[in-house]
Symmetry: C2
Subunit: 410 residues, 2 copies
């Protein structure tokens, strides 16, 4: 039987999903926007209702601490992120934060006093769509990025992270780093892939996550009139970029069977119907569980760009924005989660994840683990993202049980 | 010897080029913008100085009339357009208007009284980059488009043509149509192609202009996470669009050796680095001197879109925004221009043009002709657009002589 107070949890889920809700029941809640501010305010109010000790750090991460019977013991950290993709779904990130909130409420309901403190966290800018890089809050917290440097990053309108934090009043004073040892980190997230649904499994216990590289390519051609300029004399940046997109797609499942490649951002200049494009900038996302394969993929993309640019008489620049090696989560925490899943009334399996989560970075400074619940049709990062209620409840139940276990460990 | 007052003409050219000048000596003077307003004000002031009878019509076309000795005779219309492409050049359009202005000034200098009235015109929105369609002012004037419909067209910010005209005070009251018979229309324009320069010829007399089609394609895929969603399950709108761009490029020089195709506008949604694109919209520009070839090209593009979308599991819409048949200019006016070129001290040739100009539409309601001057390296629609001063002076000289001839015809 689930520990979750189903009615309360559903009500809370609906309330949070209203903030930034789209016409098609998705979420449009870009990091540090007015809607992000609104959901943060609600979150802080809920933490206050629980009597938690609230702390906001320099990068806007929000923490709420519930003391343990051994107040000086290293805490268990649980949470995820409340920001969304542009016109994204209501499960990505939000589920993890609300699972953690429900867990702390359950502890109150049942007068569970854990020996270790438990801290809930909402990480700033996991998505990376308004400001780069993604996993910003957890990345600063785990010393992957310099706070000062990240605060000066700007969005497309030239607004800095620092200004955006100030605008919404979440420029906290607490240093964005661990103030003590952390015993363990636990996060629940939607799978964002098709495996669990195909296997009809409620919960996935994630052994590790793909490594990845984010690249930005710019192709420089020459603007020209679409009418009288003969084809042989053109240096069309878009024609070269189209060839590159095709070549990058063909890299999928090359070198190893798990390579995935995506061109997601793409902009064309001058973007006029009768002018040959003179500049195209696009992003490349390349992933594999094998770090060498990622490295070889990046090298190969550079070769492909050389070839397409030679063909069209264009030039290019290629910059690697970000590289993250594959993650292997803590086997001991994974085992505790597996134990909790066995106690719970659900089906579960071990799995490899394709996407980076805040848990990846936390894994570097503590024993971290990640739980997945199924994504219907594997769909995510769009408004049609959906997880069956039964699976959500199973995931939260296992999550709460595992948190309780971890918080009572010596 | 050239008729042109070289010093005055250069000074005027510089003065007009200052309005909307870019850092790289190009022009950024989008139709009905504040900079367009400024250049229109200067133009109107120059027409007033010449004592012309000024008229502004409903679509913002500006006319200035110099009476003939037979005031009721059908006038000769001369001019071009003062708007530019985004970060375009200072010769496209502006040259034609300033050649017409210099022609009327020369008539004054030399006390030339033509028997027919001569009207100078600046056509609104020839470029079509802020508002569609291109050739808007001349198109409305020659009854290709309904005035009311065109006035309600909007730019990317949702501003209508009507509102933009009101904003800059060029919403004239004169009906946007001919109020009398027009004896002939003459325009000088840069070639925007490489032929004249390659042939070392000062002036081209244009026998005709390519027909063309403007299309807008939208490809619909499905947004998905760049990490865990397997390639085989993706419906990536950008991958399909890249295949389409490649197929459209391959259409160049198919069916006939003069076919040119260009994809100039291109936008991707949601445009996020780790999201599979769910929608791509792009423009297609297809041209040939043979109208059947244009028709076959459009049909073929539809087939290509079917194929690429079937391959990637995406869907598409294809809309033809605009079709214009090829133009054959008036042989009699072309002969008069040829005569004028013979009198002038320059080299000249007959030529076929690749781009549509206001002269194309005027050709439907009167005897029209078009002169070209060379474009260095054939470059146009960018800031590097350049025509040698010697060629410009030759072009204006031939233009002025031909206008004089036409205005004295019975």
């Amino acid at each position: 039987m689930t520990l979750v107070d189903t009615e309360r949890f559903e009500k809370t889920y609906e309330k949070y999903s209203e903030i930034g809700r789209t016409d098609r029941d998705g979420l449009h809640r870009l990091t540090l926007s007015e809607t992000d501010a609104a959901v943060r305010d609600l979150f802080v109010a809920d933490l206050e209702d629980l009597g938690l000790d609230i702390r906001i750090d320099e990068i806007g991460n929000i923490f709420g601490r519930r003391d343990g019977t051994k107040p000086n013991a290293a805490p268990v950290l649980i949470g995820s992120h409340l920001d969304s993709q542009p016109y994204g779904g209501r499960y990505d990130g939000q589920l993890g934060v609300l699972a953690a909130l429900e867990t702390l409420r359950l502890f109150e309901d049942r007068d569970i006093d854990t020996s270790r403190p438990v801290e809930i966290v909402n990480w700033t800018n996991e998505e990376g769509s308004r400001f780069k890089p993604a996993l910003m809050g957890s990345g600063v917290f785990t010393d992957k990025f310099e706070t000062e440097e990240i605060l000066s990053n700007t969005d497309r309108d030239g607004i800095s992270v620092e200004a955006a934090l100030q605008n919404i009043g979440y420029d906290g004073e607490s240093p964005a780093k661990p103030m003590e040892d952390i015993h363990a980190y636990l996060e629940v997230h939607i799978e964002q892939g098709p495996v669990l649904e195909q296997n009809e499994t409620n919960v996935g216990i994630v052994d590790g996550v793909f490594g990845m590289s984010w690249l930005e390519a710019t192709i420089y051609g020459e603007a020209d009139h679409a009418g009288p300029s003969p084809i042989h004399s053109r240096n069309d940046a878009l024609v070269a970029a189209a060839d590159a997109v095709t070549a990058i797609r063909r890299l999928s499942n090359r070198f190893s069977d798990d390579v995935v490649t995506t061109v997601g951002e793409f902009s064309v200049s001058p973007d006029s119907i009768n002018v040959v494009p003179d500049e195209v900038t696009f992003s490349i996302d390349l992933r594999s569980y094998d770090d060498d394969t990622v490295a070889r993929g990046v090298e190969h993309i550079e070769k492909e760009l050389e070839t397409v640019c030679e063909r069209e008489g264009t030039e290019f620049e290629l910059e690697e924005l970000w590289r993250i090696p594959h993650t292997e989560f803590s086997p001991t925490v994974c085992d505790i989660v597996t134990e909790a899943a066995t106690e719970s009334d659900c089906s579960y399996q071990r799995i490899i994840g394709g996407a980076g989560h805040d848990a990846n970075y936390l894994n570097d400074i503590t024993d971290a683990a990640l739980l997945f619940v199924p994504s219907v049709d594997g769909k995510t990062h769009n408004e049609a993202e959906f997880t069956e209620w039964e699976d959500i409840l199973a995931g939260v139940d296992v999550f709460a049980r595992a948190t309780n276990q971890l918080a009572d460990q010596n």
